[in-house]
């Protein structure tokens, strides 16, 4: 603590406390209830219709957050059935009416689009999707809420929050060959468990985070919710700066990090130097074991994509493993690039061609089969290994199927062998 004029005490803050202090216009710390202005609001096609109906019901007829709002049609995109086509029409008409943005069929996943084009370090973002926590990777506070909460943010441009306590997650060491940020996050989920961080924020620090690409940091923050957390945050640094410059918006960079004496609820320390590739077994994300424990399990489907691992570096590592190889005849490989930009880059770099030559199918940018609506719904007793973030019973559209979660490398190696496979044998 630093004392000024013997009266005003400035308390060292976590990143969450800094952002909530700025956005609520008063000094706040963990545990406080605040009303804060939001910088960005997002919704997806499964949560938008209810949010719109709630706005109509509330009848305020003001949309102070409309300019900050984007409706993303990504979950059932393009629409597989008329009910959803009608939902999409309803969303488009409403977005137009209030002057909000729309990211339509073909543009990609909400969270990838937000990271590429909209979110800045220090922003406060709410989204009607639990994986809104993804762009904490940019040094923002972003959190998922339900349709009604987000509807209110659109109408009032603000909403209420409880400022969370923070768990400091320090990750050190150099990632071994064949081990990726997804494995790091599965290790963290295994430690914290699926409800160990409920209502809390995670701050990721340490030299393994400093050396991690923005793609990897997005994977980590994306899965913060799988520990129950409200947000996962990485301090902004040279990696953030480089990423924003590559996205054509260098002016959006700002440095944000916790103060030296910030208070944390507890700390998790992890050294990843000896970490093996991991998988989460059905039906819970914290059911994590080393890949070798389940090696040889037959897989009917392999899915590479989603807001967790559908980015360029994910598709690149998959292509590197699949180059000159063939997908096992009893296994289907499905790939959904996270966004149009990802898809175009993967195409230019030849990754799409490699995947298709190997026998994979490449779906349009979007959530794909992750939510169990279309583009790869599992059959009874089928097993899928996926780069997504959840393996809950029924997640991919069939409660009588089994989902394993792993890195893109483990998934690509498993596609070739037709069974869960350690990727290290496929990497130089």
């Amino acid at each position: 603590m630093t004392e000024i004029n013997c009266q005003v005490i400035i308390v060292d803050k976590t990143i969450s406390e800094k952002i909530f202090s700025e956005k609520s216009g008063k000094e706040t710390s963990a545990g406080d209830i605040v009303i804060a202005r939001v910088d960005r609001i997002g919704l997806q096609d499964g949560t938008s219709p209810l949010a719109i109906r709630q706005m109509i019901k509330m009848g305020l007829n003001k949309f102070e957050g409309a300019e900050k709002t984007i409706f993303f049609i990504d979950h059932a995109s393009p629409s597989p059935r008329k009910e959803l086509s009608n939902d999409h029409k309803f969303i488009r008409d409403f977005a137009k009416k209030i002057g909000a943005g729309i990211s339509d069929v073909g543009n990609g996943i909400f969270h990838q689009r937000m990271a590429e084009s909209f979110v800045k370090p220090g922003d406060l973002v709410v989204g009607a999707d639990s994986h809104t926590c993804t762009y904490g990777a940019l040094g923002a506070f972003s959190t998922g809420m339900g349709s009604t909460d987000v509807a209110i943010a659109i109408m009032l441009g603000k909403t209420w929050f409880r400022v969370p306590e923070t768990i400091r997650v320090e990750v050190n060491g150099t990632l071994p060959n064949g081990v990726f940020p997804k494995d790091v996050m599965l290790a963290i989920v295994r430690e914290i468990r699926s409800d160990g961080a409920t209502y809390k924020a995670l701050e990721f620090v340490g030299d393994a985070i400093d050396n991690m690409s923005m793609d990897g940091r997005l994977t980590l923050c994306n899965m913060a919710i799988e520990t129950g957390a409200k947000a996962g945050i990485v301090p902004s640094d040279h990696v953030t700066k480089k990423f924003l410059a590559e996205m054509g918006r260098p002016e959006d960079f700002k440095e944000i990090r916790a103060d030296e004496g910030a208070e944390y609820e507890w700390e998790l320390n992890l050294d990843v130097s000896d970490l093996p590739p991991l998988v989460a077994k059905p039906h819970e994300v914290d059911n994590v074991v080393a890949v070798e424990k389940v090696e040889g399990t037959h897989v009917d489907q392999v899915f590479i994509g989603t807001c967790t691992n559908g980015r360029l570096s994910d598709i690149e590592i998959a292509a590197e493993i699949l180059k000159g190889q063939k997908v096992h005849p009893e296994t289907r490989l499905i790939v959904n690039p996270a966004s149009k930009q990802t898809y175009l880059q993967a195409m230019k770099k030849g990754f799409i061609e490699i995947i298709m030559e190997a026998g994979g199918v490449v779906n349009p940018p979007g959530c794909g089969p992750c939510v169990g609506i279309h583009q790869g719904v599992l059959g009874d007793e089928e097993v899928c290994i996926s780069t997504q973030n959840r393996n809950f019973k029924g997640r991919m559209g069939n409660p009588n199927s089994y989902i394993y979660l792993a890195s893109p490398a483990t998934c690509a190696a498993s596609a070739i062998k037709g069974e869960i496979t350690d990727p290290r044998g496929f990497l130089k």
């Binding site: 209830i33 009303i35 499964g46 949560t47 219709p49 209810l50 709630q54 019901k57 509330m58 009848g59 305020l60 979950h75 059932a76 059935r81 009910e83 959803l84 009608n86 939902d87 309803f90 989204g127 009607a128 999707d129 639990s130 809104t132 998922g144 809420m145 339900g146 349709s147 009604t148 909460d149 209110i152 109408m155 009032l156 909403t159 209420w160 409880r162 699926s194 409800d195 409920t198 209502y199 129950g228 409200k230 819970e284 939510v371 169990g372 609506i373 719904v377 959840r390 809950f392 019973k393 029924g394 997640r395 559209g397 069939n398 409660p399």
Partner: protein, 166 residues
Amino acid sequence: MMKGRAWKFGDNITTDHIIPGRYYHLRSNPDLLAQHLMEDTDPEFASKVQPGDFIVAGRNFGMGSSREHAPLVIKLNDISAVLAKSFARIFYRNAINVGLPLVIVDTSDIETGDQLEVDLKKGIVRVLNKDIELKATPLPEVMLRILDDGGLVNHIRKYGDFKLEG
């Protein structure tokens, strides 16, 4: 005071258990959607459960997606409240927003078929057939205020803005 029968579930009940993602196309038709409540855990649940009954669970009820349809379909089945040892964060807020009461209480001794009496204001749960009285963790002031107004939509309709303090 609320009275009804308990229906017991385990730990980590996800929003996919509560309302499976494959019924995505029914989200704009809540009455049809509500018929699939807890279907993958108990296929007959929506037809067996009676108005006023309680869902009782272990730890971390409602983990997973942000779908507000999860508490909504519970409410549409006229379930009085959900009792659990703990709730996932987004579900917790969504439930209060749609006006579905949640009770944080040690549910270890409650079983399916038990007759419950819940006093939300006092935070007391009575298992009538077992003569047990359980003390619930009180909901935060903000949540009680929103719940008292019948959910967040009614709160905003009433005040035109947030009115979270006395």
